[in-house]
């Protein structure tokens, strides 16, 4: 199906066999094997599949592979550097902002996009930006604290 497409994911080049109309989510998970990006709804409602295309956070379940061509893709696996957690990852740990944690990669990626845009967000900035990410376990208050902590403010 389809010809090869080149994607750059977490700084690495991948030749992807998938049809360009395939979702980025399926390619990341099943072809490249980066399963940190999760399926939750398939309709851009829950944010479990949040990744970055360039500086923009997108929902990979409704993003086609062809949209990702020529733009660097960053997934949760790309945040840790040389064994050091990204401050957001560390903050989610420190605040224990997780229960089943299925939403957590998407949460962190969404927050990552926020902090790149607004390094010191207000509570309202955080709530509005994170509105597209669902934590069904109801872990929202600690996640807000974690994002504030990562931004260098007091949780």
């Amino acid at each position: 199906m389809g010809g090869a497409v080149e994607l750059v994911v977490n700084g690495e080049k991948h030749q992807v066999k998938a049809d360009p109309q395939t979702t980025l989510l399926e390619v990341l998970r099943d072809e490249i094997g980066l399963t940190g990006t999760k399926y939750g709804c398939g309709e851009s409602q829950c944010g479990a599949c949040t990744v970055l295309l360039g500086n923009e956070h997108v929902h990979a379940c409704v993003t086609l592979v062809e949209e990702a061509v020529g733009k660097p893709v960053t997934t949760i696996e790309g945040l840790e550097q040389d064994g050091n957690l990204h401050p957001l990852q560390q903050a989610f740990l420190d605040e224990d902002a997780m229960q089943c944690a299925y939403c957590v990669p998407g949460m962190i990626m969404s927050a990552y996009a926020l902090l790149r845009r607004i390094p010191h967000p207000t509570d309202e900035d955080i709530l509005q930006h994170m509105h597209g990410n669902i934590c069904r376990c109801g872990g929202y208050p600690r996640m807000v604290n974690a994002i504030k902590r990562a931004a260098g403010g007091k949780p």
Partner: protein, 668 residues
């Protein structure tokens, strides 16, 4: 999770763990017996539950599943406490039916009151056996030895556990009456501890069932009927079978396609031509009339207080939908799946495929939540049927729409309440009839002579099952709303009315704690501003929640929520707070928005875009007060959900004069 756990049998696992050394077997027979105790017996030997390796690594075995309640963390604490080892030296192997003792399932808030003491007794017995071992070795009175920080220490001697067990093969019966470490002496239990393997999750490394990939694996999709109870009449798969790489599995009404990729499987599914016979089925409009099939047997004379309350079906919406990877290979079936009942799923597989128990293994990786919604193994059975037929590993991940449609719901229900009070404001009679939603939490915790409570089982139009706190949420809603109505009719403050009729000291405790923290004072409601309070007891834990709201033109603002919770000794205050706050937030969804819309055997809102769950911007300011004491610990993952809906509804009434008796609330 470790890959070791995935690939090794129990016997080889034990070898690998101990470098050929198994701790605490007086004879190998004792060990063998423990391993052989399949069935539903609970093995009473240490080695079935706790293993100490020559490297000092402690491994715990439990049939409980980790679904976000963080039992892995609390069980780690319990074993570390009793065995006197650092938390980092404890690993918990959970929910792998080849490796762990039988367990009925992870539900009913049972892990903390039953499994935690079980592994603590095993660990404490292991500690005492280690002391015996050292006493023998050193020829010294065991009373002079203590276990501390992974070592046995005597007046002049010290040895790490690993050194003591090296080249030993020992087991002992668990001392069922062994004294567990007293609450006042807890050093690890009772303390905050983060999710023990949290790093695996924040890095995306943890493999949920839906993340597992096996060599040669294909992806399956299932042909779903257009409506419930539809029967397959004709099936034409010729077009699909002409596609390269796609295979069809057809057995009665079960039709699946399997392909190398998900998109190919999905494309193939569309090309199947199938005709079904469908039947006319009820909708939400007729629901409550259908459920209330009889009149309450006991009735009070006219003029007493009466109320009728309803709740719609709601969905669990675990963020990880049902998923399974099944592998039928070399005459054995191994299935990875997200579930709360690994052994229950195993039974389903045994039955569906006609395999002996010994040929089926279910492995439940830490799962993307359940909330009572993952007691059944549909995806596991479906994936297994395809793998069994094709002889290759098969992955099946349900779509969100499938999860909304083909799982099961929290029961809808109708409650009718009749009550009377005397002129002192004391409850005199209580008649409470629940239709369909269930008996959990139906008991009357207030003081009243001879209360009559009855759960009427009726036929449910939709498939229904367990849910966090089961019917306690709705029964509590009906009772606590009704009592607010009675208090209003009497002109009494709703908190005072409750305390006036309550001698249960635990409920009094949370009620007064919540009220105090809230700053409860009788207030004149109205003009859009109001406060409400509610309480409840379920599964041996108690909760009270107070809410302040502002309502403007039907638009609700929850200004703040205070909740007080008590479940005996707190095992881990940090995880407890997660459960209490999380339950409360989940409860907001059921109170305000969540309802399954259905007609003619179809779910009309089987999408997250049409089924509203709580989000970041919905969350009010929440104060959570956890009350600790020395009583045995009860579970806490369910009860905190039961007081928010009535507290909120009562607050809205006091703000607007509009009494809300139906869940979810319709404000305008």
């Amino acid at each position: 999770m470790t890959t070791r756990q995935v690939t090794l049998s129990r016997r080889s696992l034990l070898k690998a763990l101990g470098g050929g050394v198994i701790v605490f077997a007086t004879t190998p027979d004792v060990i063998a017996k423990a391993w052989a105790q399949r069935g539903q017996n609970i093995p009473q030997v240490i080695s079935a539950w706790v293993h100490v390796g020559a490297d000092g690594q402690v491994t715990v075995f439990t049939g409980k599943a980790e679904v976000g309640q963080n039992a892995r963390t609390s069980l780690t604490q319990g074993v570390a406490e009793e065995l006197r080892v650092p938390v980092k030296d404890v690993r918990v192997t959970m929910a792998d039916t080849d490796l762990v003792p039988y367990d009925m399932g992870t539900f009913g808030s049972r892990t903390t009151p039953t499994m935690l003491p079980q592994v603590r007794r095993a660990a404490a017995s292991a500690r005492e056996a280690l002391i015996d071992l050292a006493a023998d070795l050193w020829q010294i009175d065991r009373a002079k030895l203590v276990a501390v920080d992974g070592r046995i220490v005597g007046p002049k001697q010290t040895a790490r556990y690993g050194e003591l067990v090296k080249d030993k093969f020992l087991d002992k019966a668990i001392d069922e009456s062994i004294a567990l470490t007293a609450h006042k002496d807890w050093k690890v239990l009772g303390k905050p501890l983060h999710k023990v393997d949290g790093r695996e999750f924040v890095t995306g490394r943890h493999k949920y069932a839906s993340d597992i990939a096996l060599p040669g694996m294909v992806h399956a999709k299932i042909l779903r009927p257009p409506s419930y109870h539809a029967k397959l009449v004709t099936l034409d798969t010729k077009e699909v079978e002409a596609l390269g790489g796609v295979r069809v599995v057809h057995d009665g009404d079960f039709v699946a396609v399997a392909a190398p990729t998900v998109r190919e499987a999905e494309a193939a599914l569309i090309k199947i031509r199938a005709e079904w016979t469908e039947s006319s089925q009820p909708s939400n409009k007729e629901l409550f009339a259908l459920l209330k099939t009889s009149e309450p047997q006991t009735t009070l004379p006219a003029g007493q207080h009466r109320g009728r309350y309803t709740c719609e079906y709601i969905a669990h919406v675990p963020l990880e939908p049902r998923a399974a990877v099944a592998n039928w290979s070399d005459g054995k079936l191994t299935v990875y799946t997200g579930s709360q009942r690994p052994f229950g799923v195993k039974s389903e597989l045994v039955e569906a495929l006609g395999l002996p128990e010994s040929k089926v293994r279910v492995i439940v990786p830490d799962t993307g939540s359940g909330y009572g919604g993952k007691h059944t193994g549909e995806a596991a059975v479906e994936a297994a049927r395809v793998s069994f037929k094709l002889g290759v590993p098969v992955k099946l991940v349900w779509s969100r729409t499938e999860e909304f449609t083909w799982a099961y719901f929290r029961p809808a229900g109708v409650v009718e309440v009749q009550s009377s009070v005397d002129d002192q404001g004391k409850l005199q009679s209580w008649i409470f009839d629940n239709y369909n939603s269930g008996g959990a939490g139906i008991g009357m915790p207030y003081d009243v002579n001879d209360p009559h409570t009855e759960f009427h089982e009726v036929e449910s139009p939709l498939r229904q099952g367990s849910y966090r706190a089961l019917a306690a949420t709705f029964n509590n809603f009906a009772r606590e709303t009704h009592l607010d109505e009675v208090a209003c009719a009497l002109g009494m403050d709703t908190l005072q009315f409750r305390l006036h009729n309550l001698t249960n000291s635990r409920i009094q405790g949370v009620l007064t704690t919540a009220a105090q923290k809230f700053g409860w004072a009788p207030m004149e409601g109205g003009r859009g501003h109001g406060q409400g309070i509610a309480c409840g007891i379920e599964k041996n834990s108690v909760v009270a929640t107070a809410v302040e709201v502002f309502v403007n033109n039907g638009e609700l603002t929850i200004i703040r929520v205070v909740t007080a919770f008590e479940c005996g000794s707190i095992v881990n205050p940090e995880q407890l707070q997660n459960q209490v706050v999380g339950s409360l937030i989940m409860g907001l969804g059921g109170a305000l928005w969540e309802e399954v819309l259905f007609a003619d055997g179809k779910i009309k809102n089987a999408h997250l875009s049409r089924y509203r769950v709580p989000r970041f911007t919905d969350i009010p300011k929440i104060d959570c007060v956890l009350i600790d004491n020395a009583n045995p610990s009860a579970g806490a993952g369910e009860t905190p959900i039961i007081a928010i809906a009535p507290a909120l509804g009562n607050a809205i009434f006091h703000a607007t004069g509009k009494r809300l008796r139906d869940l979810p609330f319709k404000l305008s």
